[in-house]
């Protein structure tokens, strides 16, 4: 089949070199001779010259197909990984969310029961409320200081590399190890934070033992952990602001504050958008910090479940309550919520994000 198409195409864009042209002809001749040795091969080779004229596009097609096969082959490891560890569990989880699956035993289809149960469960609403409050506050607390730090550390001041590293270290530190440390730091009786507070003459704050302060502690630790990362993103965005703009503005008599407000912030808007979207998604999915800070012997997350956000709730339902089906439904509800919020963010972004 290849030989039929090979007729008359020794000269092709690939065979610009004389050597290649001659090689192609030689191969063709040898191949024809080989086929002629088969019974009936004579007729084939004799018919060959009368075969379809080789068209440029037909040869192109085979190359494209070959290219596709090569590309797919190289992508196969990644595709397999995504399939096995992401898409297949995703599909199974979607199926399980419509069953009453437990850790042990066979699952039975129950339709939308799990979703309806979630919508009528007070613990679910408590977790939603906690997640919403946590996200709104953390969004501000972990982006505004990051921006400020990035602007400051963008100047050529002494020790800026050192400080950039120092602020980034919480990001790379192991989240559970660091949160356990914070659990001791925030201890009401012998924690260092309360020790300092007492030094200033105030009453020690029940960070981890009072329902009112529980969520605030989670916000603190989580923001401390993410500010470094957002700062780095902002720093990268700041590199893309042309310094001529600042020069021109200062020539026109703009103060540093005005320059920040009218040059830096608008030029950074794509970066800010990225930071806001990713931080919101991470906030909605927070798990390590509430559980490491607040898991008690009775399986409440924080005093009176004050640190209970959606993902710890679905973890607790799945592994402590054993209700895999319900937990899967919760996970998919969370997915829908995140999707909606992200879509809203994208729509709203058209108004305030300026792309160059």
């Amino acid at each position: 089949m290849v030989l039929r198409r090979a007729v008359g195409v020794h000269r092709s864009p690939d065979n610009r070199c004389v050597y290649q042209y001659l090689l192609a002809r030689w191969v063709h001749v040898r191949a024809l001779a080989y086929i002629a040795t088969f019974p009936g091969g004579d007729t084939m080779t004799k018919q060959a010259p009368a075969a379809l004229p080789a068209t440029h596009s037909r040869r192109h097609l085979s190359r494209r197909v070959r290219l596709w096969i090569d590309a797919f082959g190289m992508l196969l490891p990644t595709i397999l990984g995504v399939l096995i560890f992401f898409l297949v569990p995703l599909a199974i989880s979607f199926y399980l969310s419509f069953t009453d699956a437990r850790l042990f035993g066979e699952p039975n289809l129950v339709g939308f029961n799990n979703y309806l149960r979630a919508l009528s469960d007070p613990t679910f609403y408590r977790a939603m409320w906690n997640t919403a409050a946590f996200s709104m506050v953390t969004l501000v607390v972990s982006t505004v200081p990051a921006l400020v730090l990035a602007v400051i550390l963008n100047e050529r001041i002494a020790g800026r590399t050192f400080f950039r590293a120092v602020f980034f270290i919480p990001v790379v530190a192991s989240v559970v190890g660091v949160t356990l440390l914070w659990r001791y730091l925030l201890n009401i009786d012998f924690g260092f934070v309360n020790y300092v507070i007492r030094l200033f003459g105030f009453e020690p704050i029940p960070w981890l033992t009072s329902p009112e302060w529980g969520l605030i502690s989670v916000i603190m630790v989580f923001s401390w952990k993410t500010i470094g990362y957002n700062m780095v993103i902002f720093l990268a965005g700041l590199q893309g602001v042309p310094p001529q703009l600042y020069e021109a503005a200062s020539l026109d008599g703009a103060s540093r504050w005005q320059q920040f407000l009218f040059i830096t912030v608008p030029m950074l808007s794509p970066t800010t958008f990225f930071v806001l979207v990713t931080t919101l998604i991470n906030c909605l999915q927070v798990f390590d910090v509430p559980v490491a800070l607040g898991l008690t012997r009775s399986n409440t997350i924080g005093p009176a479940d004050s640190m209970l956000t959606i993902v710890p709730l679905l973890w607790r339902e799945a592994f402590i309550g054993g209700r895999m089906g319900y937990a899967s439904a919760l996970a998919w509800l969370l997915f829908v919520i995140i999707l909606l919020l992200t879509l809203i963010q994208f729509r709203v972004s058209r108004r305030w994000v300026h792309y160059e």
């Binding site: 850790l103 042990f104 035993g105 007070p122 590399t161 950039r164 201890n187 009401i188 009786d189 012998f190 029940p206 981890l208 033992t209 009072s210 329902p211 009112e212 720093l235 990268a236 590199q239 898991l295 008690t296 012997r297 009775s298 399986n299 409440t300 005093p303 009176a304 479940d305 607790r316 592994f319 402590i320 309550g321 054993g322």
Partner: protein
């Protein structure tokens, strides 16, 4: 990046590599090589090691039992602190010594305190749980319902050398259901009041032990002592206990004459007047700030000498022996409307999927034998689940504390931890604990606590 050897000036936003000259190339490459080596080192460190410590036993890594036909039985329990961990490692050595003639090797496979039950449940679901494992008494129903717990009755009946009557009958009763026996108790532990004798003497007060001997140890005298010994300026508290069901809503509600459950354990009884009285007592303690808030941190404070009285079980003793630098002893729990204490216990269960049932039974027998429980009792960590004289004597002789009898005195009137066969203990305790936390923080009144608890836990019963 230009690979030329000439003047290579590479500047990036970090100002890190702003160099001049050929020295750049070597510097850049050296940095990359160091980074690469560091990465490889971490990867190799992750590959090797990673085995849980098994102490000084001959068990070593998770055995495959392929040397001279030995059967390996993996067992697990949950130590509360490092001192308790050492006790179980020594117990493992004892088991191996006793059973080496029978060709059985026991491997102690510990799990962390936090997330112990979740790890067990996931391992059971995955099929690689240990052959023998301990659980808390309340979890029994959940585990039996997984269908993976071996019924021990056939093994008990077939073994003439084993006497079930040696164990405390009220505990065995909890382990029996529908004629099947699902495990053997590892130990029992009644709760007592650990107290700091030095603090009492310094304040000129009678110690709880003396008050109990006089018959005057009740909630009133306890309150009095706690109030006198609380000193906010010195961060000293008169009282302390963990914020979990045993000492908190278990003991106090029972001692007030109520109970978290109805007698048949099929419903919630937290809204009875007696239960609410118990809740009110605890609310009073928190309102007057007589105790440190929080879960386990109070234990560290007691060991540091900052808490005068601490309600806890026997497992606290090894830690106090190691860490407390003051004179201490124990006394029975104060009498509320009725005498009460919380009896915490846990059984060893045998995995139904164990490879060799007979070998697992042999290991279990040794783990719960009079000798083993006496040895563990001598080390101070728990009270034998058997009434054999040898075991009890060994326990009484394990001092400090001098007043070990206080633990045994509570057994007759104790409220036992018990599984909830007709409901879900995990759900019940989670809901109640959350409401309890709100009550002690002042967000709910005790009456509201009782009412809402019973409303919200109605769905956790079948």
């Amino acid at each position: 990046m230009a690979a030329s050897g000439g003047r290579a000036r590479v500047v990036d936003g970090w100002g890190l590599f702003a160099e001049k000259g050929t020295a750049t190339m070597l510097r850049k490459h050296t940095l990359s090589w160091i980074a690469l080596m560091a990465l490889l080192a971490t990867l190799l460190a992750a590959c090797g090691g990673g085995q849980p410590s098994t102490g000084g036993t001959g068990g070593g890594s998770s055995g495959t039992g392929d040397q001279q036909q030995t059967v390996t039985i993996r067992w697990r329990t949950r130590p509360g602190d490092a001192a308790e961990q050492r006790v179980y490692e020594e117990l493992n050595a004892l088991v191996n010594e006793k059973l080496k003639d029978k060709g059985i090797t026991a491997v102690y496979d510990p799990a962390p305190n936090q997330g112990y039950f979740e790890k067990l449940k996931t391992e059971l679901a995955a099929g690689n749980a240990p052959d023998i494992f301990w659980i808390g008494g309340v979890e029994l129903a959940d585990f039996v319902n997984t269908g993976q717990i071996l019924d021990l009755k056939p093994l008990i009946d077939a073994d003439s050398s084993f006497q079930l009557s040696n164990f405390y009958p009220n505990v065995i009763e909890q382990l029996t259901r529908d004629g099947k026996i699902y495990g053997l108790p590892r130990d029992i532990s009644t709760m007592v009041v650990y107290y700091n004798e030095d603090l009492f003497k310094a304040a000129g007060l009678k110690t709880p032990k003396e008050l109990a001997a006089e018959g005057n140890w009740n909630w009133n005298t306890m309150l009095e002592a706690a109030r006198k010994l609380t000193d906010p300026a010195n961060q000293q508290y008169g009282l302390g206990f963990g914020n979990w069901w045993g000492p908190a809503w278990g003991y106090f509600i029972n001692a007030a004459g109520g109970s978290p459950f109805t007698p048949d354990r099929r419903g919630c009884a937290l809204n009875t007047p007696e239960s609410i009285e118990g809740a009110k007592m605890v609310r009073l303690l928190y309102d007057e700030k007589l105790l440190p808030a929080g879960d386990a941190d109070g234990e560290a404070l007691f060991n540091a000498g900052k808490v005068a009285m601490y309600f806890n079980g026997r497992w606290f003793t090894p830690g106090v022996r190691t860490n407390a630098k003051f004179n201490w002893d124990v006394a029975v729990m104060p009498e509320g409307k009725v005498k009460s204490t919380w009896l915490f216990w846990g059984p060893y269960l045998v995995n139904a999927k164990t490879a060799n049932t007979q070998a697992a039974w042999e290991v279990l027998k040794v783990l719960t034998s009079a000798e083993a429980t006496a040895k563990v009792a001598a080390l101070g960590t728990n009270i034998p689940p058997r009434s054999d004289k040898a075991a009890v004597d060994a326990f009484l002789a394990s001092t400090p504390p001098a007043n070990n009898q206080a633990f045994l005195d509570g057994i007759p009137y104790a409220a036992l931890e018990a599984p909830v066969w007709d409901g879900s203990w995990a759900d019940f305790s989670g809901i109640v604990q959350s409401l309890w936390d709100q009550m002690i923080a002042g967000q709910l009144t005790p009456e509201q606590f009782g009412q809402q608890a019973c409303e919200q836990t109605a769905s956790t019963f079948k």
